[in-house]
C-alpha cells in the first residue's frame, strides 16, 4: 500500500480551479517532489492531503486513511513543515518540541528522549535552550523539520522547505533531510518546491505542476532524458564545418543545428546518449581542430520549459 494515493483531487476557490483532478501516488520510502511555479496549486494540494482543506471533489488516502472521513488518523500518521513558521518564537527550542510532542500523545521520558534524538539529528542540541527568535533562518527551518518528525510519522510533508534561506543553509537542510532518510528508510517525504536544484537533489520522483495539473511525473534523470532537446552542445573550430560533416552529426541525432558565426556550431540533442561527445569525436576525426567545446547538461528547468513553454522563474 502506498503512503499517498490521490485520485482526481480537485479544489476550487470560487471560479478559480487551484487543483484540477490531480491523481498521483507516493511509494513507501520515496521522496516525491511537487515542482511548479507559485500559484501552480502545490500548497493547496498539500493542504488537502494534510486535512487542512477539504477537496471540492476527488479522494485521497494518506497512510491508508481517507483525508475527509478519517482526518484524525491521517493527522496521527503525518508530520508537516509548513511554509509559515509554526514554531513559537518566544519559546526555547526544546519548549517548542515539548509542546508539539504532547499534541501527539508523547509525554515524560519518552518525549525528552525523542526531543534529544531529533535535536541531535538536526544539529540543534547545543542550542536547545536558546529562544527560537534568536535562531538563524536555517536553524529555525531545521527546528521546524525536527518538530515535523518528532513523533516519527510515516509521511513528512515539506512545503517549500528552503524558500528564503541562503545557499549555505539550504545545503544544510538538504543534507539533514538526506540524513533523516538514511536513518528511517520507510519515511516517505513529499515536498513542494519551485527550485529545480532542490527537486533534483532531494527527490526520487518529481511531478511538474502547472495551473493545477500534473504535466509529467518521473525521476529527475528520467525526466531530463525524456527531452529530445535537453542537451546543449557548442563546438568552436578553426574553420567552418562543412555540409557533409554537418549531416554526419545530424545523423547522430542532433537537432536545431545553427551557426551564429561560421566557425561556431550549436545544436541540441537527447540527453544521456552521448551525442555531444560523439559529435566532437567525429569533428576531430575529420581533421578539424576544436578550439572550444561546451556540452551543457540538461536541467529540470529545461524540462519545465519544454512542458510549459516558459521559464519557471518568470512568474515566481
Amino acid at each position: 500500500m502506498n503512503p499517498i494515493e490521490a485520485d482526481r483531487l480537485t479544489r476550487r476557490f470560487g471560479k478559480t480551479v487551484a487543483d484540477d483532478a490531480i491523481s498521483f501516488s507516493v511509494r513507501p520510502g520515496e521522496t516525491y517532489g511537487l515542482l511548479g511555479p507559485n500559484g501552480a496549486g502545490k500548497t493547496t494540494l498539500v493542504r488537502m492531503l494534510t486535512t487542512l482543506l477539504a477537496p471540492t471533489s476527488g479522494t485521497a488516502r494518506v497512510a491508508g486513511y481517507d483525508v475527509v472521513h478519517q482526518k484524525g488518523k491521517v493527522r496521527a500518521s503525518i508530520g508537516t513543515v509548513s511554509q509559515a513558521e509554526t514554531t513559537d518564537e518566544n519559546l526555547s527550542v526544546r519548549e517548542n518540541l515539548s509542546i508539539h510532542g504532547k499534541m501527539y500523545g508523547l509525554w515524560g521520558k519518552r518525549l525528552s528522549q525523542r526531543i534529544e534524538r531529533r535535536l541531535r539529528q538536526v544539529g540543534l542540541w547545543e542550542k536547545r535552550d536558546q529562544i527560537t527568535r534568536t535562531l538563524s533562518g536555517g536553524m529555525r527551518r531545521r527546528l521546524e523539520i525536527a518538530r515535523g518528525v518528532l513523533h516519527s510519522p510515516h509521511i513528512l510533508f515539506l512545503d517549500e522547505p528552503t524558500t528564503g534561506l541562503d545557499p549555505q543553509s539550504r545545503r544544510g537542510v538538504w543534507e539533514m533531510l538526506g540524513d533523516l532518510k538514511e536513518r528511517d528508510g520507510s519515511l516517505a517525504i513529499i515536498l513542494t518546491t519551485h527550485a529545480m536544484d532542490e527537486a533534483n537533489y532531494l527527490c526520487d520522483r518529481v511531478a511538474i505542476l502547472d495551473q493545477g495539473r500534473i504535466l509529467c511525473e518521473d525521476g529527475p534523470e528520467a525526466l531530463k532524458r525524456s527531452l529530445p532537446t535537453g542537451e546543449h552542445v557548442r563546438i568552436e573550430t578553426e574553420r567552418p564545418i562543412e555540409a557533409a560533416d554537418r549531416d554526419a552529426i545530424l545523423a547522430l541525432g542532433a537537432v536545431n543545428w545553427r551557426c551564429p558565426v561560421p566557425t561556431s556550431a550549436e545544436f541540441e540533442a537527447r540527453p544521456g546518449e552521448g551525442i555531444g561527445r560523439r559529435a566532437a569525436q567525429l569533428v576531430e576525426e575529420r581533421g578539424y581542430e576544436i578550439l572550444h567545446l561546451t556540452i551543457s547538461p540538461v536541467t529540470l528547468e529545461d524540462v519545465f520549459f519544454a512542458y510549459t513553454g516558459r521559464a519557471l522563474r518568470e512568474d515566481s
Binding site: 491508508g64 504532547k102 509525554w107 529562544i131 516519527s152 528511517d184 520507510s186
Partner: protein, 389 residues
C-alpha cells in the same frame, strides 16, 4: 484500530516500533493537548514581560486613579457669599458659613462686594455657588437665596444641603421630635474599597483579552495555529485548551490583584475562607470571560478585528456588570445585559465574600452561572471553530 489496520502494511524502520500512530487516542491525547496549549500560553506570558505588566498593573492603576477621583467626599468648593443685609442675623450666617470652610474644608469662601459681581463670576466658572443674604434678612423672610452652578451637580447638591442646614441652625428651626436611627450593617467602606472586587474582575477581563482573544487571533495570523491543527488532537480539546489557557493567565492576573487589594486596601474580610472563595470565583470568572473572548473571535483572522471591537466589548461587558455603580438602578434594557454578563456574577460573588463576609455557600448560584456560561460558549465555539486554514 482493527486488525486490518493499513498502517501495519507500511514497512517499518529499525526504530519503527516507536511510531506514535495509534498509541495515544481519546482522553489521554485530549488531556495532553490541553496541557500543551496551557504550557505554551504560560511560557509565552513569562517571556513577554510587557504583557504581564500591562495585564496586572492596568487594573491596579485603574483602581488608584478611578477610586481616588470618583465619589470622593467633596471639598474646597468655591462659594461666594454676598451680605446685603448687614444685620445681626447675616453676621451669624456668615460665621456659620466660615465654619464650613474651617471645619471640613467643604467650601472655599469669597465675599464679593455686590451681587452683580458675584453672579458674573459664577457664570465665568469662578464660583460653584452664590449665597445672597438680602436686605432685611430675617427668620420670617426675606430669607437667603442660593444660586448654584447646576452643571456640576454633586457640588450643587452639597452646597444646597449645607447652606440649608446653616440657615436652619442660625434661625433655630431645626429640632425634629426624635432622631431616626441610622445603623450601618457593615464596617465603614470608602469607594476605593468598594471598587476592589470590580478591579479584580477588570484584571481578569484584561488578562483574558491578552491571553485569550488576542493570542488566538495572533496564532492564526502568524500560522502557529497550523501547528496545532495538523496534530491528531481533537477540535474540542483544542478549543478547551485555549479556553483554559486563557483562563489560567487571566485568573493569575485576577488572583494577583485580589491579593493586592486584600493586603493594601482596608477590606473588611480577609479570612482564609474569603480568600479561598475569592480565588475560586476569580478562576471561574476568568474561564467564563475567556470562553466569551474565544467565542467572539472563533473565526477572526486579523488583530484589527479585536482592535476595532475592543472598545465596544469593554463597554458592553465592564460597565453593565455593576462594577462602578449598583445594578439595581439600571434601566430595564441595561439590566438584561447585566443579567447575562458573566462579570456581574464575578463581582457580586466577590463583593459578598470580601465586603460582606458572606459564607462561601452564598456564591454557589453565581458559580453555577459562570460554569454554565462557559459551557455554552465552549459548545458554540466548537461549532464555529474552523479546522481549515
Amino acid at each position: 484500530m482493527g486488525a486490518a489496520s493499513p498502517s501495519s502494511a507500511l514497512p517499518r524502520a529499525a526504530a519503527g516500533g516507536e511510531r506514535t500512530l495509534g498509541v495515544s487516542r481519546g482522553p489521554r491525547l485530549a488531556l495532553l493537548g490541553i496541557l500543551a496549549i496551557c504550557q505554551r500560553a504560560y511560557l509565552t506570558l513569562w517571556r513577554q514581560p510587557v504583557l504581564i505588566i500591562s495585564t496586572m498593573l492596568f487594573p491596579v492603576i485603574y483602581l488608584l486613579v478611578l477610586g481616588n477621583s470618583l465619589n470622593r467626599q467633596l471639598s474646597h468648593i468655591p462659594l461666594a457669599v454676598v451680605d446685603e443685609a448687614g444685620n445681626s442675623l447675616s453676621v451669624e450666617s456668615r460665621r456659620a458659613v466660615l465654619a464650613l470652610e474651617g471645619g471640613r474644608d467643604l467650601v472655599t469662601l469669597a465675599f464679593p462686594a455686590d451681587r452683580e459681581e458675584a453672579l458674573r463670576d459664577l457664570r465665568r466658572g469662578r464660583y460653584r455657588g452664590v449665597w445672597i443674604l438680602p436686605h432685611g434678612l430675617s427668620a420670617n423672610g426675606p430669607g437667603p437665596a442660593f444660586i448654584g452652578d447646576n452643571t456640576d451637580r454633586p457640588s450643587y447638591d452639597a452646597l444646597d444641603a449645607a447652606l440649608t442646614d446653616v440657615w436652619s441652625d442660625v434661625t433655630g428651626r431645626r429640632r425634629p421630635a426624635a432622631d431616626p436611627a441610622h445603623l450601618e450593617a457593615y464596617p465603614y467602606l470608602d469607594y476605593l474599597t468598594y471598587l476592589g472586587p470590580a478591579v479584580v474582575c477588570l484584571a481578569i477581563f484584561m488578562g483574558s483579552m491578552v491571553a485569550g482573544g488576542l493570542q488566538v487571533i495572533e496564532d492564526r495570523m502568524y500560522g502557529y495555529h497550523e501547528g496545532y491543527l495538523v496534530t491528531p488532537v481533537s477540535t474540542g480539546a483544542i478549543v478547551t485548551g485555549h479556553m483554559i489557557a486563557g483562563a489560567l493567565v487571566a485568573g493569575l492576573a485576577g488572583a494577583f490583584v485580589l491579593l493586592a487589594i486584600m493586603l493594601f486596601t482596608p477590606l473588611p474580610m480577609t479570612t482564609p475562607e474569603a480568600l479561598g472563595g475569592g480565588l475560586v470565583t476569580v478562576f471561574l470568572t476568568a474561564l467564563a470571560i475567556s470562553a466569551l473572548w474565544f467565542l467572539l473571535f472563533a473565526r477572526a483572522r486579523k488583530t484589527s478585528v479585536l482592535r476595532g471591537m475592543f472598545g465596544i466589548i469593554n463597554v458592553l461587558i465592564f460597565f453593565p456588570s455593576g462594577a462602578l455603580y449598583p445594578v439595581e438602578s439600571y434601566p430595564k434594557w441595561l439590566r438584561v445585559l447585566s443579567d447575562i454578563d458573566p462579570l456581574t456574577y464575578g463581582i457580586t460573588a466577590l463583593r459578598d465574600l470580601l465586603l460582606r463576609g458572606s459564607p462561601v455557600s452564598s456564591c454557589y448560584s453565581e458559580w453555577m452561572f459562570l460554569l454554565t456560561f462557559t459551557l455554552v460558549c465552549g459548545v458554540l465555539t466548537q461549532v464555529l471553530f474552523r479546522r481549515e486554514v
